[in-house]
């Protein structure tokens, strides 16, 4: 039987990691992730988790230790944030190109400078093209449930890719919520028994040269297969979500969740992560006023669920994307550009970029109301420009700082 606990997002992450029975863990402390590694270390020290942990000297080594361990056929887990992820980039990229199903939580934190500790998806979105699968989750229950699903997806023979479960630093990492914790037997029934690779390994009984110098033609074949695996993951993620729901009774809508969207909806707000809670509230308020606006939460950014998103937006006139990150060079957020790429074949949709909540700034219900009203206005406008300037949603006016 499962039981209910009040726990922080980081506790939900460490609890899920322990339930997944990893063989090897390696992580380096960094705010706001640190308590994940602390709690796992404690669980091992107290004999509650039968696993080995490497107390590494850096994030670079954390990922490297896990790569070695995964090549030695171990199930692996780590957690990091912002600068740690940046420092880890070299082995991070390679975890995916070696096709190692490492699972790593990311407590999202803004990238410096200026010096900052607080939430933004700038860290993990900046490495979205490093070949990993990336989930972005909304609350602590979803952290726990998604980490379990991630092990299932990562080790699936159709996928064999590393996975990030990203959640907003402090907003989730340090906030306490009610979390339903499944018992070990339930999780054991859900997950593969162990990680047993037949594609890449280091074993004196089965000698293999891992990563010899490789010519471009063969490298292209590897890349093509890697990209194909990412696309297959879209299906596997949905499957894992369904199977999980059947076993545990909680459904997280695979790659994309539509909230209050029907055939009358004319405008949609698109969100990522914890901001979705405030967005739901705003949509409820505006719908009660009769405004034709709904909400789409993108749960998986890599692979990007373009087909599902297109279908959801098929009857919609205007879409607003709220990004807690920036896309340098485009003067928008990153998810806005992703959405734009997905709907590029739909000239009837007007799109509006919003940037909000950088460096941990609150994204309020009122901000979502402002954003949603703007989207509704665009939806009702005839012959409006498709290319809208970014609107910065800020609680303090710029004048104050002058």
């Amino acid at each position: 039987m499962s039981h209910v606990e009040v726990m922080t997002g980081n506790q939900a992450a460490s609890t899920a990691a322990c339930l997944a029975r990893p063989d090897v863990i390696a992580a380096y402390p960094i705010t706001p992730q640190s308590s994940v590694v602390e709690d796992i270390s404690k669980a091992i020290a107290e004999g509650k988790l039968d696993a080995l942990i490497s107390e590494v000297e850096s994030e670079h080594s954390a990922m490297s230790v896990l790569e070695g361990a995964a090549l030695g056929e171990a199930r692996t887990f780590s957690a990091t944030s912002s600068q740690g992820l940046a420092f880890m980039y070299e082995p991070y990229f390679r975890a995916s190109t070696l096709r190692l199903p490492i699972v790593m939580a990311i407590a999202n934190r803004e990238m410096i400078s200026p010096q900052t500790l607080w939430a933004s998806a700038q860290d993990s979105l900046s490495v979205r093209d490093a070949g990993w699968i990336q989930y972005y989750v909304e609350n602590n229950q979803e952290i726990l449930d998604t980490i379990l699903q991630a092990f299932c997806v990562a080790e699936d023979k159709r996928v064999l890719l590393p996975i990030n479960i990203c959640y907003d630093g402090f907003y989730l990492s340090h906030m306490s919520e009610r979390v339903d914790v499944p018992d070990q037997a339930q999780v054991d029934a859900f997950l593969p028994q162990c990680y047993k690779p037949d594609h890449i390994y280091l074993d004196p009984d089965r000698p293999m040269a891992v990563d010899p110098l490789t010519n471009g033609d063969l490298l292209m074949e590897y890349r093509q297969k890697h990209l194909e695996a990412q696309q297959r993951a879209l299906t596997v993620i949905e499957e894992a979500s369904e199977v999980f729901c059947n076993l545990f009774g909680r459904h997280w809508d695979g790659c994309v969740e539509a909230y209050k969207i029907d055939h009358n909806t004319k405008g949609a707000i698109i969100t990522l992560g914890s901001m979705t809670g405030a967005a739901r509230e705003a949509i409820d308020r505006l719908q009660s006023e009769g405004l034709p606006i709904g909400l789409i939460k993108i749960r998986v950014v890599r692979p990007f669920p373009k087909t599902e998103l297109r279908e959801l937006l098929s009857g919609i006139r205007a879409v607003g994307v709220v990004d807690r990150n920036v896309c340098f060079g485009w003067n928008t957020g990153i998810i806005y550009q992703e959405v734009l790429a997905a709907i590029s074949g739909s000239p009837s949709i007007v799109h509006q970029p919003f940037i909000a909540g950088l460096g941990g700034e609150d994204i309020t219900i009122e901000m979502f109301e402002t954003a949603a009203r703007q989207v509704v206005t665009l939806a009702q406008k005839k012959n409006g420009s498709r290319d809208q300037e970014t609107i910065w949603l800020r609680s303090v006016s710029e004048e104050v700082h002058k």
């Binding site: 000297e57 670079h60 080594s61 790569e67």
Partner: protein, 299 residues
């Protein structure tokens, strides 16, 4: 068992690798792996041995044992992870081996190496030191000696060589030694000791003369290596659980000029610089002798 018996063992490294003529690193690698045997996993980071194909090419392996490319920067940590995986499976007999150049060890890979040594992970880490980034065209490294020409120090390096074996010994790991391809018996015995070390980290530092980068005829590789020891430029010693022991004593050293004059990389070295180099060598030998006198438990 004699050293010759070891050298007669089957070679697990491919005969087709493309090292330079007279390369002492290739000889060292083949010998080391004859000692360690097939129940090993070999990490070859980017560097000369990676470049010449020990990991392999396309789908062909350069060795008969599992071999892989770590990054330049993470050789030791990847091996730490492998060791944990094998520990988890109860496969403690597998030798987890790094064969890494000085760039991957004393410079870019130093943090990972120091971390793994501090954790005392059971890894056999062999640094083949040819005193520079020889695979990429003879650039300077932290292991390049003062005064030496490299392609990035065209008028000679200004700083002294990083004393890596001493730094590693100060991690208080169970086994550290220096080795030379000119002293094969000594080298084989030291690799044997690392092989038997179940208590934790083993670090072996081999000075490997580089024909192209140092500038000497290919047939003189071993002779140059021997001169580096006979001049006390590169003393052969080991540090077992903190206790220093010089394994090849050099009671009557040759002057360092006998070594320096054989190498084109020192062709611009002045008399003053040569005197300084001799002073440093004398001082380091004295330190080594003093360290040899220190007994860990006061015994």
């Amino acid at each position: 068992m004699s050293v010759l018996d070891v050298l007669d063992r089957p070679d697990v490294i491919s005969p087709g690798i493309s090292a330079c003529v007279g390369c002492s690193v290739e000889l060292t690698l083949r010998t080391v792996m004859k000692v360690l045997g097939r129940n090993s996993v070999l990490a070859i980071p980017p560097g000369c041995m990676g470049g010449v194909g020990v990991v392999g090419w396309d789908k062909k392996s350069g060795a008969e044992i599992p071999v892989f490319f770590p990054l330049l920067t993470n050789t030791a940590s990847m091996l730490s992870g492998l060791r944990l995986a094998y520990k988890r499976q109860g496969r403690d007999g597998i030798h987890v081996v790094a064969f890494a150049g000085d760039g991957a060890s004393v410079d870019a890979g130093f943090q990972a190496l120091s971390g793994a040594a501090e954790r005392n992970d059971r890894i056999i880490y062999i640094c083949y030191d040819n005193e520079g980034y020889m695979n990429t065209g003879y650039q300077r490294s932290g292991a390049t000696p003062k005064g030496a020409w490299t392609s990035t120090t065209p008028y000679g390096k200004l700083q002294i060589k990083k004393d890596m074996p001493r730094i590693m010994a100060d991690h208080r790991i169970p086994y550290v030694s220096t080795c030379s391809p000119a002293y094969m018996k000594d080298l084989v015995e030291k690799v044997e000791k690392a092989k038997r070390n179940k208590a934790g980290f083993s670090y072996l530092h081999v000075l490997n003369p580089c024909v192209g980068g140092w500038g000497f005829p290919p047939e003189e590789s071993i002779e140059i290596a021997r001169l580096s020891v006979k001049t006390r430029y590169f003393p052969l010693y080991e540090v077992v659980n903190g206790e220093y022991h010089i394994t090849v004593d050099i009671p009557n050293p040759l002057p360092v000029s006998d070594y320096v004059s054989r190498l084109k990389k020192f062709s611009r070295t002045s008399e003053v610089a040569l005197t300084e180099m001799q002073e440093l060598i004398d001082q380091q030998w004295q330190e080594l002798k003093a360290l040899e006198q220190v007994r860990v438990n006061g015994a």
